[in-house]
């Protein structure tokens, strides 16, 4: 028995550190910090933020702004995945939101008027909410598997966007709409304020109300949740609707960035980035426990990675490969099996000198 008590008391000192390294977000955060450090080495003033024309400028601000659309999409995706679902249609919804809002503004008599822009935003968000409700209906009422149900809109949605833009890349000039993606409020990028504001509200609602627990219950065991009186159908429906709404908001920001509605390329593959961000953040694709802070870290890693590629000067040809390597490293370090193996090896190494001492 002394052997076991010995091994139990030994790591008592750095217990806090051990808990920290065992936290699910430890390695994602390390990866993020490593990326930032690497960038600072290549470009020493990477982390510096300056004030120009009353606005904040610098790479960190860029990261905040560039991460806005992905954060919004990933936010909805996290909730959907937590209920055992997946939403492949987010990219198509992004394209539809951009196409609809810009087409409306383009055909409006006064594209520069604030009222026009507000109506355009309302129509686009309304349609995206309806699309989300459609997805939710297919999944929770009709009972189609989420991956199939949302695949329908994923493929059909780009067609809808194409229909709206009539196959053209609609370019628009509208100062109020441009503010959404490129403007600044209170010295910060408007896009970031919107996305992070929505993120904070959703985080507060899920954790301060019982919604988070009910979403997790449904994700872990839908039939048991139903028996416990949880309205599983309503919850699944709601998260798909939210995913549609948030994707629409992301679509508006992306459209405002380029001020052109491109039905084919707007939000292309954003569903994959969003799923990746959710997984890096430690939410299991099997549903259940979810982590919104994890998703935030995942989004920041992916956005920083994209920026790093340009700063470090990696050829665009190998960008996908570089991204893949970082993602593999993070997911491997998060995998319990790999971590157990590494820990076992570390223990062996630690045990050997102890035997000598004894």
């Amino acid at each position: 028995m002394p052997a076991t008590t010995g091994s139990r008391t030994r790591p008592a000192g750095p217990t806090g550190l051990r808990n920290l390294t065992h936290h699910t977000l430890f390695w994602p955060v390390v990866a993020l910090v490593a990326l930032l450090v690497a960038n600072t080495i290549f470009s020493p003033d990477f982390l510096s933020v300056s004030i120009l024309d009353g606005h904040l400028f610098g790479a960190p601000i860029d990261i905040l702004r560039n991460s806005a659309p992905l954060l919004l999409v990933s936010l909805g995706m996290t909730l959907v995945i937590a209920t055992r679902g997946i939403d492949l249609s987010v990219g198509a919804v992004v394209a539809i939101a951009g196409a609809l809002s810009l087409s409306f503004i383009a055909t409006a008599p006064d594209p520069g008027a604030v009222s026009t822009v507000i109506i355009a935003i309302a129509i686009a968000l309304g349609l995206c909410l309806v699309l989300g409700i459609w997805n939710g209906f297919l999944v929770s009422v009709v009972g189609i598997q989420p991956i199939i149900a949302t695949l329908i809109l994923m493929t059909a949605g780009r067609g809808v966007a194409m229909l709206i833009t009539e196959g053209q890349i609609t370019t628009v000039t509208s100062a109020p709409f441009k503010t959404l993606g490129a403007g600044f409020w209170l010295g910060l990028p408007a896009a970031a304020l919107i996305a992070y504001g929505v993120y904070l509200i959703v985080a507060l609602i899920t954790r301060r109300s019982a919604l988070g627990m009910l979403v997790e219950a449904v994700g872990i065991n839908p039939s048991a949740s139903r028996l416990a009186g949880v309205r599983a159908r309503t919850i699944v429906w709601t998260v798909f609707a939210l995913s549609g709404l948030f994707s629409g908001l992301a679509g508006l920001i992306l459209a405002s960035n380029v001020m052109a509605a491109d039905a084919n390329n707007a939000g292309l593959f954003i569903e994959l980035d969003a799923i990746l961000a959710v997984v890096i953040g430690g939410t299991s694709l099997q549903g259940g426990k979810f982590s919104l802070s994890g998703t935030l870290v995942g989004v920041l890693i992916i956005t920083t990675l994209t920026l790093t590629v340009t700063i470090v000067g990696i050829s665009p040809l190998v960008t996908p490969l570089f991204k893949a390597l970082v993602v593999i490293a993070v997911t491997l370090l998060q995998s319990p099996r790999v971590r157990d193996k590494l820990a076992a090896r570390a223990r062996q190494r630690a045990a050997r000198p102890e035997e000598v001492a004894a």
Partner: protein, 528 residues
């Protein structure tokens, strides 16, 4: 199978000798120097409460659990199994639980997977099917089509398929871990017959079950484990039941007797006959014929019948889990339409499911969350229970669950089956139901937990709750119920008012009787 013609003597040379088996999981000793000897042509039962180390001992035998100390000898030769493949080569086969089979594969595929008959062009399916059929025939179920998908079979037949999967290897040692836990009585006795047949063919059987009667019926020898140690070994024919139970519990059997007298007291103290939930001709096509049942406050009503008799279906229709397509539900004199479990809970009707893992516990949520879940769902997500409110709800059950405050934040999936059942009960009770429908609340749990749940049910009735109690174990239904509704073939065939004259046999005779409806109970409940 025909290779062994003569049945070896009970004193035959042991096939398996396990000595001083010691196993630790992350520093916790779950087995401490356990011994076990298996002889050919003998059924050896392993008994003990949850956590006694039964499964670990089986794991040590089949090579799924690494040993800290101890030896395993097969045929007198040291052969510490290090993998399932190794133990299989030694002739040791395990019967998996029915849930470990693949529901979408065919019966033959389930039996033959991993040891299909192979030829020069890959798997020879016709030959494989023949072998599967032969194994099924050896078990006395040759009417099963080996091409049928496993899912189309009854739970009992599935369990027999699991046995066929093990015996197709012609093992010398067959391990059965709780093979009857999801079977009703008739199905279980069919399985026990198979076990006996295999024993007579010279197979050494290791049999683990919570069902005392089955163990006593089928086994030749008994080993009792408690806290990872072997506390007793008996020849079954010579065992004294009371002593056996007290060995398992580590305490005397006062508890059993106390419950019995408590139940009697409860029967006679039963007061009002005020009907709270009335099912009038409630039914559903293909599920249940129109059925009338009244539940009164302070009364335990047992639903007795075999699996498939409609007992679970009736419970689910009355509890709003499924919607009836005929008949009416009346609650305290008002017609109610239950649109689902949520709506039932709003009417203070709580239902537990017979399938704890599938429909009950939410394994990934904490114990605390599992307990408050139904109450929280009832309040709606916009009105979360604050931490003090949660504590107030949960604290009531802490002692009953035998858990500490720290345990409350552990995932419920880590708990033993008995504690999970109690967590489920706590979840339902937290909603303060007026009608409580419990479907198999004591399945697969140890005697202590069982007693505790039974005691709690009796107490709830004493507090005025109308309780429906369903169990495959009829003696349990008889022990607890004030009234027993007997079902057969999706139909209610009668109702008994419980009393000294009513025994398990009364119900069995009723179900066995050919003419439905003739054997109504001595006191049919009239509306008053």
């Amino acid at each position: 199978m025909a290779a062994r013609e003569t049945r070896p003597e009970a004193t035959a040379r042991p096939v398996v000798e396990m000595r001083g088996i010691t196993v630790e999981y992350s520093g916790v000793r779950v087995l401490d120097g356990a011994d076990l000897t298996l002889r050919p042509g003998e059924v050896h039962a392993l008994m003990g409460e949850n956590g006694a180390g039964k499964s670990t001992l089986i794991g040590a035998l089949t090579g799924t659990v690494p040993l800290l100390a101890g030896t395993v000898r097969v045929d007198g030769e040291a052969s510490t199994p290090t993998s399932v493949a190794r133990s299989r080569a030694d002739g040791i086969a395990t019967v998996f639980q029915e849930s470990h089979l693949s529901p979408q594969l065919s019966v033959a595929e389930n039996i033959m997977i991993g040891h299909e008959v192979r030829g020069p062009f890959g798997i020879r399916w016709a030959r494989s099917r023949e072998r599967a059929s032969a194994a099924l025939a050896a078990l006395g179920i040759d009417d099963v089509d080996p091409r049928a998908p496993l899912d189309s079979l009854s739970p009992a037949t599935k369990q027999l398929v699991a046995v066929a999967r093990a015996i197709v290897l012609e093992p010398r040692v067959l391990v059965l871990d709780e093979p009857t836990s999801s079977l009703d009585e008739a199905e279980a006795s069919q399985l026990l017959g198979v076990v006996r047949r295999l024993r007579d063919q010279g197979v050494a059987v290791l049999f683990v079950s919570h069902f005392l009667e089955q163990v006593l019926e089928v086994s030749d020898r008994l080993t009792v484990l408690r806290g990872g140690r072997v506390v007793a070994e008996y020849v079954t024919a010579e065992v004294d039941r009371a002593e056996l139970i007290s060995k398992m519990l580590g305490e005397d059997i006062d508890a059993l007797q106390a419950l019995h007298s408590q139940r009697l007291e409860h029967h006679y103290a039963r007061s009002s006959n005020q009907v709270t939930l009335r099912a009038a001709s409630i039914g559903r096509r293909g599920t249940l014929e129109p059925t009338d049942v009244d539940l009164a406050r302070g009364e335990v009503v047992g639903f007795a019948g075999l699996r498939g008799s409609g007992r679970t279906e009736l419970a689910r229709l009355m509890g709003g889990v499924e919607r009836p397509d005929r008949g009416e539900l009346w609650l305290d004199g008002d017609r109610v339409h239950l649109r689902g479990p949520a709506s039932a809970l709003r009417h203070r009707i709580a239902v537990s499911s017979e399938n704890l893992r599938h429909d009950g516990i939410i394994a990934g949520l904490t114990v605390r969350e599992n307990i408050v879940l139904a109450l929280q769902a009832l309040r709606g997500w916009t009105r979360p229970l604050s931490r003090p409110e949660q504590d107030a709800v949960v604290d009531v059950y802490l002692d009953a669950l035998n858990l500490s405050h720290e345990d409350l934040d552990r995932p419920a999936g880590e708990l033993s089956g008995g504690t999970q059942q109690k967590v489920m009960l706590a979840r339902l009770l937290a909603t303060r139901p007026h009608v409580l429908i419990l479907d198999e609340p004591t399945r697969g749990i140890d005697i202590a937990a069982k007693l505790d749940i039974q005691r709690r049910v009796a107490r709830l009735a004493g507090e005025g709750v109308a309780v429906v109690f369903i169990s495959s174990q009829l003696e349990e239904v008889v022990r607890l119920s004030d009234r027993i509704v007997v079902l057969k073939d999706r139909e209610k065939i009668g109702e008994l008012s419980n009393g000294p004259g009513v025994t398990v046999d009364t119900i069995v005779e009723m179900i066995a009787a050919e003419l439905d409806g003739q054997l109504d109970g001595p006191e049919l409940d009239d509306e008053d």
